[in-house]
């Protein structure tokens, strides 16, 4: 790239609104040269306490009230005050306009880093990536959260805080199994949501009652009925199934289930694109700020401070380090995007063999294609190069409880590359990382019990908390709930049965 010199940007560590504006201006012009396509954005300056508030509500500016957010706030506050953790420099919200928070404690170079990282890096990823485009509606999320908060507050007024809290607790336990993994959801809209909520509540209740109608008895063909299951196909979205079919839920409870489900769905793409998204944002703040430096816009001091925090972020401790806690998504993502650019610009013979389609191509086009069309799992399987595996010195370990010892399956050598890459990609497959649990059957003719089935992968069992989750399911369902495990050989065994006490009116407090 040519190096037209530019006017020096404000220096020093103290930031002012004016300086932030000038940095944003400069970063934007560079980003435009690179062709980054972003939502318009809004920078909000907040205090550290507000940052902790934002933490507690998963970064959202508006959220309904629940004790668990209070718990997160207290734990964040505690750790922050004791110096055990720093706050993240930035939180960015996938909305239109995209909102990026700047913390007041940050120095000017850090603010510039956050702007480049969040307001241009993440922002363009949110706008471009197919998962975000398909599954979330950036235009409507804030509105929807406003709707959710006022709806839940309304429910609390009408039905009591504890009843709402009980329902929310149960829904939160299922939030990870309350997403559609393959179906696309309808776009959210505040007005439509409010309008249709009433109608939906009434309609649903009537449907549900119909489902459980016991009259007239159809004695003439009982055999045939018993054989069919309900639902006919297993349903992966537990919350959806409960919302539509749980027989005893009040209409408002169905709506609460729906609210939690919708918000869970909104976060689902984020969980699937951690490496790509963070890597992408890191790559861009690195590239954008370096470009500014090359043109003389920022000083050496600025670059030193920036590089110091940048290297902290992308540090990958080795497996035997005290600091090791899995593969650092920032490190892996950043390295992969850099590597892709390298393959495009200076491919080696190995790259030409492994990546004939992108070696020597235009890196910006390749970038956009990859950013738009992949998620972590497929991104790694597609783009992780042998060179990177060597750089990271990846190796894969098999821990099988039927063997006495651990076995090193493959390492970063010619025979191991493909297996290693495949293995690492599986590690980012949410379908494998989280247990696969689906609604298998409802005993329509009998005790109305709900049967969930856990499709066990690699003989991995569920952990102990599944019992408490089942209690929550039983609360929502209103009848007994069974959890079965289906093993690889097709055999099915009962893991746990949660009886549900007949639900009457909540006991009044005796005085």
């Amino acid at each position: 790239m040519t190096l037209p010199s530019m006017q020096a940007l404000p220096s020093g560590s103290e930031w002012t609104v004016d300086a932030i504006e000038r940095y944003d201006e400069a970063i934007r012009s560079v980003a435009q040269e690179y062709g980054l396509d972003c939502y318009p954005h809004l920078l909000e300056i907040i205090s550290s306490e507000q940052m902790m508030d934002a933490y507690a509500s998963v970064g959202m500016p508006v959220y309904y009230s629940h004790w668990s957010f209070g718990k997160h706030f207290l734990s964040t506050e505690g750790r922050y005050k004791r110096g055990q953790m720093g706050l993240a420099y930035e939180i960015v919200i996938n909305s239109n306009p995209c909102i990026a928070y700047l913390m007041e404690e940050n120095t000017l170079p850090m603010q510039a880093l956050v702007i480049a990282h969040a307001a241009y890096g993440h922002n363009s990823f949110f706008k471009g990536n197919h998962l975000f485009k398909q599954w979330t509606s950036a235009d409507a999320i804030i509105d929807y959260l406003v709707f959710a908060r006022s709806y839940i507050a309304q429910c609390e007024e009408r039905h009591g805080v504890s009843a709402v809290e009980r329902t929310l607790d149960a829904c939160h336990a299922l939030i990870n199994v309350g997403v559609d993994r393959y179906k696309r959801t309808a776009k959210l809209s505040l007005s439509r949501e409010t309008e249709r909520q009433q109608a939906r509540a009434e309609y649903l209740q009537s449907q549900v009652n119909d489902l459980w109608r016991t009259l007239p008895p159809q004695l003439e063909r009982p055999q045939e009925k018993i054989a069919t299951r309900f639902p006919a196909e297993p349903e992966e979205n537990l919350l959806y199934f409960i919302e539509k079919n749980a027989p005893l839920l009040e209409p408002w409870q169905r709506e609460v289930v729906r609210v939690v489900r919708k918000i869970g769905q909104y976060f689902y793409p984020q969980r699937q694109t951690q490496v790509m998204n963070e890597g992408w944002a890191t790559f861009w703040h690195y590239t954008l700020l370096n470009t500014l430096y090359d043109r003389g816009g920022v000083s050496d001091g600025f670059m030193l401070e920036f590089l110091q925090s940048h290297t902290n972020v992308v540090y990958q401790p080795p497996y035997n380090s005290r600091h090791y806690s899995g593969v650092n998504p920032y490190a892996l993502g950043f390295a992969m995007w850099r590597d892709i650019r390298r393959i495009c610009e200076e491919p080696t013979a190995e790259d030409r063999e492994w990546f004939p389609q992108i070696a020597g191509s235009n890196w910006r086009d390749t970038f956009d294609f990859a950013m738009q069309n992949y998620k972590d799992e497929s991104f790694i399987v597609q783009y992780l190069s042998p060179r990177l595996m060597r750089d990271f010195r990846f190796f894969s370990v098999l821990d099988d409880d039927t063997r006495k010892k651990l076995r090193i399956e493959s390492i970063h050598d010619e025979s191991g590359y493909r297996a290693l890459r495949h293995q690492l990609s599986e590690q980012y497959d949410l379908g494998r990382r989280e247990p696969n649990i689906q609604v298998w059957n409802v005993d329509l003719r009998g005790d109305r019990s709900l049967t969930l089935r856990h499709y066990s992968h690699q003989r991995r069992p569920l952990d102990a908390s599944c019992e408490s989750v089942l209690e929550h399911v039983a609360y929502l369902w209103g009848f007994s709930v069974r959890l079965e495990r289906q093993n690889a050989d097709g055999s099915v065994e009962l893991v746990k049965e949660q009886k549900h006490e007949k639900r009457g009116h909540p006991p009044r407090h005796a005085t």
């Binding site: 090193i408 569920l462 989750v469």
Partner: protein, 434 residues
Amino acid sequence: MTVRIVDRRFDSKHKSSINRSRFIKRFKGQIRKAVADAIGQRGVRDLDNGERVGIPGEDIEEPQFGHGRGGSWQTVRPGNDRFSSGDQIERPEGGAAGRGAGLASRDGEGLDDFVFTLTRDEFLDVFFDELALPNMVKRHLARIDQYRRTRAGYTQSGVPTNLNLSRTMRGAAGRRIAIGAPYATKLRALEAELRSLLLQETTHPAPESPGESDHVVGLRREIARLRARMEAVPFVDTFDLRYNNRIRLPQPSTQAVMFCLLDVSGSMDEGRKSIAKRFFMLLYLFLTRNYERTEVVFIRHHTVAFEVPEDDFFSSRETGGTVVSSALELMHRIISQRYPSSLWNIYGAQASDGDNWNDDSPLCRKILEDSLLPLTQYFAYIEITDGPPQNLWYEYEKVQTAQAGHFAMQRIADITDIYPVFRELFKKRATGTA
């Protein structure tokens, strides 16, 4: 186009406070227990901090379906420094048993105590939940020295300067509408009728009479009569007048003094003194909750009583007998010298092992009944002993019968009894039954 920058730093703070208070409410039981434990480690007047409390992690877990240990796991890790494929290695020692690190941390998470900091107010709220100062209101009213004028709604009579215009006019407008409503309804009906009649007559004029028909004239008259009656409804009636009401409220004294009376005779060992210390501490905490200003007077006694600073209060131990009345007399003297009961709320707390010189106990009762109790809001006696009660206890029981609700006594055998006993002494009593 310049970017929009919004400075939110001065927006309302404590956005999470509702979530925070819900959390505290939900786990009140556990938090209360942690708080009770925490109090043991504080100084009597060490109150200005919140408290770090820990509650069991499993209680507040938010369960999710997750994988447990077992089965087969294959994990990719970075930083290979010694392995080649096919190597067999021992499972590393330690709990994780060779599980992928991501899993190990997931397994370990949430099982430790969840530690967080309560603010001072939250701490005290939890601590004194459901407690009340006995007879506070009654005692306040009995000795009112200052009054404060405060607004108390509106009255129908008063001096013109206190007239509340907007209230008055609001009432007047309502009354006018209410009284005029029947006329207005009739008026609308008549006017409609008149209009239709007039319309009829202009389109089909009656040939026989050139002027308006009788009916129309009658209608007009009736309308005029109704109008007049509506106008006769007074604009402002004396009935509408509202005056700001101000009343005199007794201003209770907002300062308290607390007397800690401690027996330091030979029979009070360190364990008993530490029990007494906890008790005084609780009382102090409790009083600072209710009064703007709280002073503490420490009196220690064996056969003679001395006022001492806090540091000396708990430390040294004297030998010899016990004369409880000496401390009560000193307390009375200090009150009359420094704490006029018209300005101070006076609380007494006495801790002893119950030993007293036999002839002294009736004297103690006399001092209490005659001079101290009339001056104090409340006097609490705790006897720290596991033996049988002695004569002081029996004498005090007589006081308690005579002055129930004003004097209280409890026996403490063990350090764990303190909090329950304290709660018993200060628990909210249902109104009218105490």
